[in-house]
């Protein structure tokens, strides 16, 4: 039998919710010189918590910098930060919750699943400008993702940069032997097919294609395979802070001499330093300038000042997740400035157009060269090499590369 008591409780709950909702929605109706509100969704817990925290700090200090300098064309910047726990359903809910609190003019998420989940409804109904920490290759599809902008070169771009570098620098007559080790997630698998094809095109020999779990893996079988394949170069893709350091350590213990390489999320200096000698010579792609110390450029020097102010132990390296947040935010800010200056309303479509029309944009030191936005991303990056002799300073071993694809 239905207990009537239950229906009364439900009633009270619904009345309460409606009251709350009415209040919040009427507040959001008043706009004009209102603050600009951004929704930032990050993995503050879960396997990506390490970078999530740094990304959150990036947005936080960006807002501090912007508001200290008069906001965006006079309008204050407010950022709503939520934890996605690296779960799609949670991140979708977070965006909806943020939307019920204020009009959201820019939304940033933690990864590819978020972009895919939010895009259909966003493209059709809400039309909010988006960015994320995802550098997935199919995000260049402007038809599917017209409002999302990748804050750097995508994973395929990055691996191509590495492969071209291998081709150029490989010594010896035999073709270079390349291994790919990646996680069985979308993040991991994304660029592999295209990368392998490009490698073969360049005349490199792909000797190992190894897919592993994302975390908590016993890497022994992987290293055994490496020993059998004897790669000259091993490229990692799709991991956070675990698995790839263990492979490096175990491989060195096995006496393997392969050169290890990684894309943006496998380039963190903190992890390299912890690995010590085993990681000497580790090479990878970073879209952004690594060090902020002594910079004269507008944005990079601001970052340097803020980091020193907020963190007495700052070592001059803002970290890649932090820079990625800044650049995503910088794109949004620039788009809003252009749109406001042109007297147009701040909608996702106007902002997106502003970004696409940007020509040779000086990013204030984030990138070492002026950039353009091609295929919804900035296909610019640089290859760095970690030198144990120089206290693991990432030494740039290439110019700023622009990939045209």
């Amino acid at each position: 039998m239905f207990s009537l008591k239950f229906s009364k409780r439900n009633l009270l709950g619904i009345v309460g919710a409606i009251t709350l909702a009415t209040i919040t929605s009427s507040a959001a109706l008043a706009q004009s010189k209102e603050p600009l509100t951004w929704s930032v969704n990050l993995s503050l817990t879960g396997p990506l918590a390490y970078s999530g925290e740094l990304q959150a700090k990036g947005f936080e200090e960006f807002a501090e910098w912007v508001n200290q300098n008069g906001g965006i064309r006079g309008r204050k910047l407010t950022i709503i930060t939520d934890d996605t726990q690296y779960k799609v359903a949670v991140s979708v809910a977070n965006l909806k919750r943020a939307q019920s609190k204020a009009t959201i003019s820019f939304a940033s998420g933690d990864g590819t699943p978020w972009v895919r989940a939010v895009s259909p409804e966003n493209n059709q109904t809400h039309k909010i400008l988006m960015s994320s920490g995802s550098f997935a290759s199919d995000l260049v599809d402007a038809a599917k993702y017209p409002l999302h902008f990748v804050p750097g070169p995508n994973y395929t771009d990055q691996i191509i940069m590495l492969l071209e570098h291998i081709k150029k620098s490989h010594k010896g007559s035999a073709p270079a032997r390349v291994a790919f080790i990646y996680s069985s997630t979308e993040f991991g698998r994304d660029p592999i097919q295209a990368s392998k094809a490009h490698a073969r095109q360049l005349g490199l020999e792909v000797v190992l294609d190894e897919e592993t779990a994302f975390t908590a893996v016993d890497v022994s079988p992987v290293v055994v395979k490496m020993r059998g394949a004897q790669p000259d170069y091993t490229i990692f893709q799709g991991y956070a802070t675990s698995v790839w350091p263990e492979v490096i350590r175990l491989a060195r213990e096995y006496g393997l001499k392969s050169q290890f390489m990684g894309t943006i999320w496998a380039m963190d200096r903190g992890i390299i330093v912890k690995l010590g000698k085993a990681a000497d010579g580790y090479t990878g792609v970073s879209p952004y300038t690594f060090k902020s110390t002594g910079s004269k450029d507008e944005v990079l020097s601001a970052i340097d000042a803020l980091r020193r102010k907020n963190d007495p132990a700052y070592d001059g390296y803002p970290t890649i997740p932090y820079m990625q947040s800044w650049f995503s935010a910088l794109m949004a800010k620039r788009a809003m400035e252009i749109t406001i200056d042109a007297g147009k309303p701040i909608t996702g479509e106007n902002l997106a157009k502003a970004l696409r029309d940007l020509k040779d944009w000086n990013t204030g030191g984030v990138f070492g060269v002026p950039v353009n936005i091609i295929g919804n991303r900035v296909p610019v990056g640089r290859i760095y090499k970690y030198d144990a002799g120089k206290n693991f300073e990432p030494v740039p071993i290439s110019d700023w590369i622009t990939v045209n694809k």
Binding site: K8, N10, L44, T125
Partner: protein, 338 residues
């Protein structure tokens, strides 16, 4: 008299919800509806019949993906999708459960664990068909020619299906089938003596529960518009079990209370943490996940130890006490008059 007005105002509120509140509240309402349907199903399997199932989220996944595929490839209207998703989930449940219906409960529980992992594995490896890790985007649900492209519009489908599911469950337990389920939970050996074919009814209880899960999954696909394998992990299966336990096993009202409670608790925790944000900085949000796990686990333990009959029992006791004080005060009034 008073009862009818309560039902009427409830109906009015539920129907008026999309216009009276924000998109987020409607989103939550849809989510509650989905979870209510799923919990009703699990309650039939585990609460009434006593068969522990750890694969409920897997069956929800089967329903969700079935709807996604039917809708995307053949434009099947949503109501048909819902029905077919339920059937599909039921069949999958039957296949996985089959070897263990003739064995003791714990073997079925392990078989469900196997089912959970196998289903998710198949979805992740399904390549172009299931979209692998990225899952599928679901095309806009259709009824007749009407496109239900917003949460507000789809809400009514969720509402209708949820009410229907509640009504069916309520009537199920007045039938012979329903009573057989309860008999099995209480004393399965005795039930057999009374002529109940244990294997057949266990299978039925399991498959009906899976049917509900499939329907819930279908609704989920319709309003989230995206289905990914990670939405349906073992953690979600335990979520539904917690809803059954917290609400009260073997009680329809319990399923509803449990589902709504479990759905809204994370929101309250988030709200509480955000309010204390000034004191802790934004780290407060970062602990949401851990706090949620502790609270969920704690609720399962607390309810099983202290109140095995769940919130519905708590509610019933409060109601009984209120009735008693009401009648005693009216007694006093009476005695004053005479």
């Amino acid at each position: 008299m008073g009862r009818i007005s309560i039902w009427v105002s409830l109906a009015v509120l539920l129907l008026a919800l999309p216009w009276a509140s924000s998109g987020y509240v409607v989103f939550l309402a849809c989510l509650c509806g989905v979870n209510i349907v799923a919990t009703l199903g699990l309650n039939i399997t585990t609460g009434y019949t006593g068969l522990l199932s750890l694969s409920h989220a897997g069956f929800v996944a089967v329903g969700a993906y079935t709807t996604a595929l039917l809708s995307n490839h053949w434009g099947v209207p949503i109501l048909v999708c819902i029905l077919l998703s339920g059937v599909m989930a039921s069949l999958v449940g039957g296949i996985f459960g089959l070897p263990s219906f003739r064995l003791k409960g714990i073997y079925l529980a392990v078989a469900t664990l196997a089912a959970q992992y196998t289903i998710i594995f198949a979805l992740r490896q399904g390549g172009p068909i299931t979209g692998g890790d990225s899952g599928l985007v679901v095309s806009i649900p259709q009824i007749g020619g009407l496109a239900l492209d917003t949460n507000q519009k789809f809400y009514f489908v969720v509402l209708a299906v949820t009410v229907l599911a509640i009504w069916i469950s309520r009537n199920l337990f007045f039938t012979r089938i329903g009573r057989a389920f309860i008999a099995i939970r209480e004393r399965d050996f005795t039930a057999e003596v009374f002529g109940i074919n244990l294997m057949r009814y266990k299978a039925l209880a399991f498959m009906i529960g899976a049917f509900y899960a499939g329907v819930a999954g279908s609704l989920l696909a319709g309003f989230m518009r995206v289905v990914t394998p990670e939405q349906f992990s073992l953690t979600e299966s335990v979520f539904y079990l917690a809803a059954v336990v917290v609400g009260g096993a073997g009680s329809i009202a319990g399923s509803i209370i449990g589902a709504v409670f479990m759905t809204l608790i994370p929101e309250f925790i988030a709200f509480a943490l955000e309010s204390t944000q000034e004191a802790f900085g934004f780290r407060a949000i970062a602990i949401l996940g851990s706090v949620r796990e502790i609270v969920f686990g704690g609720m399962i333990v607390a309810f099983l130890v202290f109140e095995p009959r769940g919130l519905s029992e708590v509610a019933r006791r409060i109601w009984a006490r209120l009735k008693r004080t009401k009648s005693s005060s009216s007694d006093n009034a009476h005695s004053k008059h005479t």
